[in-house]
Structures are given as C-alpha cells and as structure tokens.
Symmetry: none
Subunit: 193 residues, 4 copies
Amino acid sequence: MSISKIEEKKQIKRDKLLASAYTLFLTRGFIDTSINDIVDYAGVAKGTFYLYFKDKWDIKDQVIIEKSRLLIDEAIINANNKMIDKFDEKIISITNYIIDDFINNKDLLKLINKNLSFGLFNKVLESEYINIKEMFAQELKNYNNKIKNPEVVLYMIIELIGSSIYSSIIYDIPLSINEYKPYLFEQIINMIK
Amino acid sequence: MSISKIEEKKQIKRDKLLASAYTLFLTRGFIDTSINDIVDYAGVAKGTFYLYFKDKWDIKDQVIIEKSRLLIDEAIINANNKMIDKFDEKIISITNYIIDDFINNKDLLKLINKNLSFGLFNKVLESEYINIKEMFAQELKNYNNKIKNPEVVLYMIIELIGSSIYSSIIYDIPLSINEYKPYLFEQIINMIK
Amino acid sequence: MSISKIEEKKQIKRDKLLASAYTLFLTRGFIDTSINDIVDYAGVAKGTFYLYFKDKWDIKDQVIIEKSRLLIDEAIINANNKMIDKFDEKIISITNYIIDDFINNKDLLKLINKNLSFGLFNKVLESEYINIKEMFAQELKNYNNKIKNPEVVLYMIIELIGSSIYSSIIYDIPLSINEYKPYLFEQIINMIK
Amino acid sequence: MSISKIEEKKQIKRDKLLASAYTLFLTRGFIDTSINDIVDYAGVAKGTFYLYFKDKWDIKDQVIIEKSRLLIDEAIINANNKMIDKFDEKIISITNYIIDDFINNKDLLKLINKNLSFGLFNKVLESEYINIKEMFAQELKNYNNKIKNPEVVLYMIIELIGSSIYSSIIYDIPLSINEYKPYLFEQIINMIK
DNA sequence: GATGAATGAGTCTTCATTCAT
DNA sequence: GATGAATGAAGACTCATTCAT
C-alpha cells in the first residue's frame, strides 16, 4: 500500500471518530457520551481513539472547531453569492444565516453554547481560507472610518449575538427568535455607527 | 430543645455545607470537587449532605443563586447609598460595582460564568427584597418613555455584560477590563437611548 | 390516660406498622422496601419502628405469620361451616379454599413463597385458636388407621401443595392452576390412603 | 497470542470469578457477599467482573445453573453406570444420589433452595448433553403407558423432592433424612403407578 | 413513649487509560 | 497501526441504626 493510501486510511479513521462524536454529543450530550460510546459507534477499537485524540475534551474541541468554521464559512459565502455590497447589510445577512441554521439545529447550538470557550473561538476565526478578523476590520474601516477599534466592535457584536440568541431560540426568552431579531439587528447596526 | 432551636441548627448545617461547597467549587472547580470533599470540609457525615441537597448540581445551583443575589443586592444598595439620581448613571454604577467585584474574585466569576443558566438567573433576579425587573422597567420608563420593551433592553444589557466581561477580566481579550469599560459603558448608554 | 388506653395506643401503632409493611412488601417487594418507606407510609417516626420490631426481617416474619394464620383459619372455618364430614373431602376443601385465595392475591403468594421458612411455618400452624397438627393427626387416624406417621403425611401434603401451586398460579407451569388442580387433588387423596 | 488462546484466557477469568462466587456464596451467603469480596477472592480487578457479569444476581444464577447441572448429570450417569434397567429403580437411584450429595454439601443445598426459581430450573433441565424431560417422558411411557401427562408427573416429583428434603436434611423435620427417605421413595413410586 | 436529624460504613457502578498481542 | 481485555481509582448514593431532645 502506498504511503498516501495509508495516510488516507488514517484520515478516514479520524473522520469516523469525529463524525461519531459529533452525532453522540448532539443526541446524548457531552457528559453522557463515553469514549466507549464513541468508538462503538465509529466501529473502531478503543485503543484507536488514543492514537488520534488525547481525551474526550480534545475530540470535543475538534468537533466544535470544525462545525463552527463550516457554519461561518457558509454564512460568508452565502452573503458573497448574494452580491450584498453594503457592509451593514452584509453583517446582518451573515448573522441571519447563522441564526437560521441554529434554529434548524438546536442541538448544535446547545453543544456550541456550552462549550465554546474563548481560546476555541479564536481558532474558529482563524479559518483556513478566510481570515475573518482582518476582513471585518478592513470592511468596517471602509464603511465607517471614525471607529477606532474595530476588533472591540467585532468582539462585542459576537458576544451579544452569541450569548443572547441562545435563550431566545431555546426558551423564547426574552422573545421568540423572530420577534427578537429586529431588536438584535438594530443594536448591531448601532454598534458599527 | 425547642423547635426553633432545632430549625436553627438545621439551618447552620445547611449553611456549613453551602459555604464548604462554595469554597471548594471556587478553588478546585465544580468537576473536581466530590461530595466527599464537601462533607469532609464541612465536617459533617456524608448522609447529611443528602438530607439537604439532592446531588452536586443541586448544591451548585443554590450556591450560585445565593452569591449572585448577594452581589446584585450589594451593587444596588451601593448605588442607592451614593444618591445617584440619573438612571443612566445608576446603571453604570451598578455595572461597575459588579465588574469590580468580579475583578477581585475571579474564581466566582468563573464559577458563575460556566454555570449560570437562564432558569437560574431568573431565580436570582427574583431576589427576596428587590424585584429587579420591575424596578428597571419603571425607572427606564421615567428616563426614556419611547422605549417599547424594557424587558428586552434589560436582557440585552445583561447578556452583553455577562458574556463580554468574562474574557476581558480573565484573558484581557479584546482589551484589559479597564480599557474595555469605556466601550462597554458607551454601548450600554446607547442601548437605553 | 389509663394503662389499658396506653396499651391500646401502642397496639394501634404496631398494627399500623404491620399494615404498612404488608402493603409495601406486596406492592414493591421486600428488598425494595426500606424501613423509611414503612414508617413514612405508616405515618410514624423512624425511631418508633425500633420500639416494636428488631429489624426489617422481624416485621416481615410477623406479617407473614399473621396473614398465613388468617388464611388457614378461614379455610378451616369455611370447611366446617359447609359441614363436610368426610376427611378426604375436607382436606380438598381446605386446599381448594387456600388456592383460590392465592389466585386472587398473587402478590401475597409471592411474598409467602419467597419467605416462608420452616421455623416460621411451624409458628403459623400453632395458631392461637386451632392446633392444626393435632387436629389433622386425630382426624386422619379416624379416617385411615393404617397410617403410621400422620405428621409426615401432613408434611408431605403441605410441601407438595406449597411448592407446586406457586408456578402453576404464577406461570401456568406445568399447567394452569385449574388444569393442575385435579392432578394435585388426586395425589393428595393418594397420600392419605 | 492466537485468538483461541485469548478466548481460553477469558474463559479462565470467567471461571475464576464463578468459582470465587460459588465459594463465597456457600460460606457467607449471598447477601453477605459483595462484588468486592468476589473480585478480591478471584484476584481480578473490580471492572473485570462487569466484563463478564451484569451484577451479583447474574453471577448467582450462573453459579446455580452450573452446579445443578453438574449434580443432575452425575446422578444420571451414576444410574446408567450401575446398569439399572427398571425405571422405578432408576428414579429412586437418581433421587438418592442427589440427596446424598446434598447431605454432604448442605451449603449448596441452602444456596440452591433459596434461589432456584422456575425459569432457572428449566435452564438446568436443558442440559447440554441430556434432555432430561424428554428422556423421562419416554421412559415413563415404556414403564406405564396409562399415564396421560408425564410432564406433570415429573413436575410433581421434582417439587416434592425439592421442597421436602430441605428441611429434612437441615432441620430433621419432619424426620431425619434417613428416616424420611422411605416415605419419600414410597410416595414417588406411587406417583408413577 | 415518640421523634427525626445525624451518622458513615458499605455497595454498586462507571470509565479513562494502559499495554500485551 | 490496531486491537480490546484488563485495570482500579473514583464517585454517587443508600439505609439501618442511634440518641439527644
């Protein structure tokens, strides 16, 4: 077997484990998923897990990074495809895309919400293909050059979205997500003005 | 011993366990604190724990509710004592008080940040002595009667504070807490205008 | 309060505990009933239990003795009331009465079957009002004076009934109880011939 | 190590646990034997127990099935070796063999007596090498073709033996086992006539 | 006699991790 | 690289019993 074939086989095992962990974390939750469950579901031996991941927390981080990046990339690509030029509209479009995705996948929202630490989130933003922070800073400058610190603005936007949509989507608190959206969007626009 | 004496003794036992759990959760973290640790530290028998609490999660919730209420009440009382009349200044004062408390007690911040669910937080706001939500709504109305939905505004303020000060205090991200404060306060003022 | 009144009150407490234990043993089973359950159900304090019974096994024995005696006494009285004169018919009548009772109260059958040790059973036969062993020996002698050892015959009859009706009533093994009865009765008649 | 070697090793571990449980159940009784005791005595780790058995009840059932089968098989083989041709004599021989074994191993008798439920007993009769029920039915037919329901007869014989020898061997009630044997054998002969 | 808070030994069970094959 | 049997520390929880009131 050629070296690349072996590498490929390894990648397949790793992906199997990631996919297995993803499914189980969503359906049973992180705490109630054991490494045993993950390897059983993936159809590999228990020892194999430790060839690819350090422990349960390690694979959880990998799962979240992968899924979050995917989601954000999709949201950006979608905005680009729609040829939205104005920065404020673009931000709202991206936010809206992400919210709608979470509405349809509440388990993912729960998983991310409970486990997305800061260090992790920065890794997410350092996506392979798009440097989100830089892009945001650049576009915000073009849109409103009075803003001194675009990083802080991005940070506050992300925090406000990240923390407030959770209970809106899951508990309809303070309002249902569709009622809440206008308030949220208004506030975001406010932040970049 | 009279009944009230017995009740008093029971209360003392309960408080001992709460204080013990509080200390250990802050120093070792929730996961690494066992019920064994809690009862040892409190100097009571293991069975006694189950007389007062259902399990580790139960006592954690009680600890967080108690400490959070205490902190918010203190912040409000402090603002009242300083005879701050203007609503916007009062809000900033309260926020500032809470932030300063967390700066000095980062372990509490970590504990609360990781564990303050929404259901729990609502219990905190239903403090025995002060109905925070109503008070806020009333004062906001007097301050700015154009705002339609004071509850949503309170919610957004709490979410923005709650989620963003954590990484600022703990990681200096996006800025150190003292550098971040002006941005945060400006945004809060913005929200009630 | 007069002494007899006090005695009466004590008896009431004891009876409450017995009745409570009886109900719980039948519904939840012996192992899954704790002393806590018994005193809660009886509405008395935990310490009170130990004023009347040594432990869970003690009260279980008392429950079984009481209920078994009651059942046997009823069966005998019923046979007497029906003026059955022939000894073999009387034995069958009594057996039949007991079986029918168990058919209607399978939980009691289960409890007794699992817990009726020999020592216990002898206490049951020494009922306050009727000395069953003596009575049986006397009547068997009149019926068939060739039998040397009536005690052994009684013993074998009781063992055969006691062990075989259980699985017939509960599992229909080897036959349903109504199909099994003729075989059983035939065998009993055989034993006293 | 080849697969069969591994399987063999697993079998040895299982057997160790079974033997350990057997010894401890006999000497201390089932209730007073903890899983801790079993694994300590077997010299394996606690987790290993759960690799082979669900819980204490599971291993108890396995122990009883194994030992009962062994005993019955031995009794039958012994009868066959002695070239006993007449069916009635064969039954008595088998019964006698089993009784004598129990006389020498009263702890086993106690264990089996307390725990041999019906479901379990049927598993015992479905021994790997000898189908006891069929064999009995066949031989009984040859011996006495007037009997309609050989299964019921076998059932009654087993029940009578199983329940009555216990108190005879353990308590000499109603007679010592040697005095009781003639009565019992007579009755068994009666049942197949 | 009655109470019920307090006890703490004892038990089961899980599960991450290792390592010989 | 892959396997999965074995490990054993760690933890949650129960419950019979006591005893001060």
